[in-house]
Amino acid sequence: MDLEKLRETAAEVVAREDVKYLIGWKNGSYGYRVAPAFIEDAEGAAELIFSPLCISNLSTYLTLVEKLPLPRGQEPDTRKIALMVKGCDSRAVTQLLVEKGIERDGVVVIGCPCPGMIDYDLLAEKYPETEGLSEVKWTDDGFLVIRDGEETNVTRDELLAEKCRLCRYPNPLISDIMLGEPVETWEPAEDKGVEEVDKKDVNGRWAYWEEQFSNCIRCYSCRNVCPLCYCQDCILDRLNPTWVNRAVNFSENTAFNIARAFHLAGRCIECGECERVCPANIPLGRLNRKMAREVRDKYGFEPGLDPEAEPFQASYKPDDPEDFIL
């Protein structure tokens, strides 16, 4: 993508009176890190980047911003939030519209067609991070990693993030401004992660997840980063009634993760953020993608495509599958 164009567009957008700020990506503090950027002026816009490291889904910030009590008489700031989205991120925006989490008028969606993002862990493993800022660019057939001035060409296959391998919607599905031409979509890969679990027998799967969920430290980063986990008062935090105890142990962790996965069934737009942020490396993406796959295959439904769609969990079809019924 043409960074000049991006920054120019961003500067124009934030200059608008009806726009409060723009959320995009900027270089992080070192190495391959990229940080969310909250841009309010042209100067800030000049920091924006769009690179294969911009894997994070910024749409979560649309609902994360606190609506603090306003002093009597003060009007809420209803200016729009501008947001940069990749294909996957845009589905989150659409799903938020379906669920009335945001209003269409409240956002300016800046679409960034996405050729695929890099898996940070793979990258750092192969080309260890250094304290200076590194840069990664797209090339025709992969990525160019520029680290301490040293350039390395890497094939796409080597570093492409798992969610991008599986991606079916690299181009934003909803946008007000589109930056650049749509990218050509690619054949989504087999979901080996889900299949690896799927092919185990039931006890094997339990053993697998037992190991994973035992590691959960209940930091709630998966929930907080999720653009669709936006209840002000999550039931899994609540104590009356208690769905999940505060105790951190396998049983409660499993209950937490099952409940979250269930709440996301038919809503998860497969941005993979939960898995990316998990400090315990729990493959949450497998859980959510499995559900997304079931919803797609069995119920013919995909969330985040149509802002007018009936929410999956709030609808039914008379001929929904019922082979599991006795």
Binding site: V197, D198, K200, V202, N203, G204, R205, W206, A207, Y208, W209, E210, W243, N245, A247, N249, S251, E252, T254, A255, I258, A259, A261, F262, A265, G266, L287, K290, M291, E294, V295, K298, Y299, Q313, S315, Y316, K317, P318, D320, P321, E322, F324, I325, L326
Partner: protein, 143 residues
């Protein structure tokens, strides 16, 4: 499982069909295993799928949800919603490795006392085969 190694099963029955069907089984003096404890709800649509998880966590070895046949819901659509939600839950639980024999759903009408017996027998038998589910208990960890 109970001391006599019998599975403990929690069943959620809709008031209008399945609960009435279970009552009919009683009126007809149909005998069936005593492992199934019923929680009455107005409609299967009320059954939050997380109840199933919660029951397994809190001591059940199996869970049953039973309601009106499709099209017969007292509230017209509740069982359709339940079917979708619980179908999803079943898929999720299976993927997580919960033995599918631990969770069943059935349609039992108010006139199907005998079907209720069969459903109970099947549920109990399946849960028995699946064994105790201590692995997921909300147990208090050691000191």
């Amino acid at each position: 499982m109970s001391a006599n190694n019998e599975p403990n099963i929690v069943a959620f029955l809709c008031n209008w069909c399945s609960y009435a069907g279970a009552d009919l089984a009683g009126t007809s003096r149909v005998h069936y295993p005593s492992n199934v404890q019923v929680i009455r709800v107005m409609c299967t649509g009320r059954v939050n799928p997380l109840y199933v998880m919660n029951a397994l966590q809190q001591g059940a070895d199996g869970v049953l949800v039973s309601g009106c046949h499709p099209g017969d819901c007292h509230y017209m659509e509740g069982n359709y919603y339940a079917r979708r939600r619980l179908g999803m839950l079943k898929d999720l639980m299976e993927f997580v490795g919960v033995d599918p024999r631990r969770f069943h759903m059935s349609w039992v009408s108010a006139s199907e006392g005998h079907k209720w017996k069969e459903v109970v027998e099947k549920t109990v038998e399946d849960a028995r085969e699946a064994g105790s589910f201590e692995g997921f208990r909300r147990r208090q960890i050691d000191w």
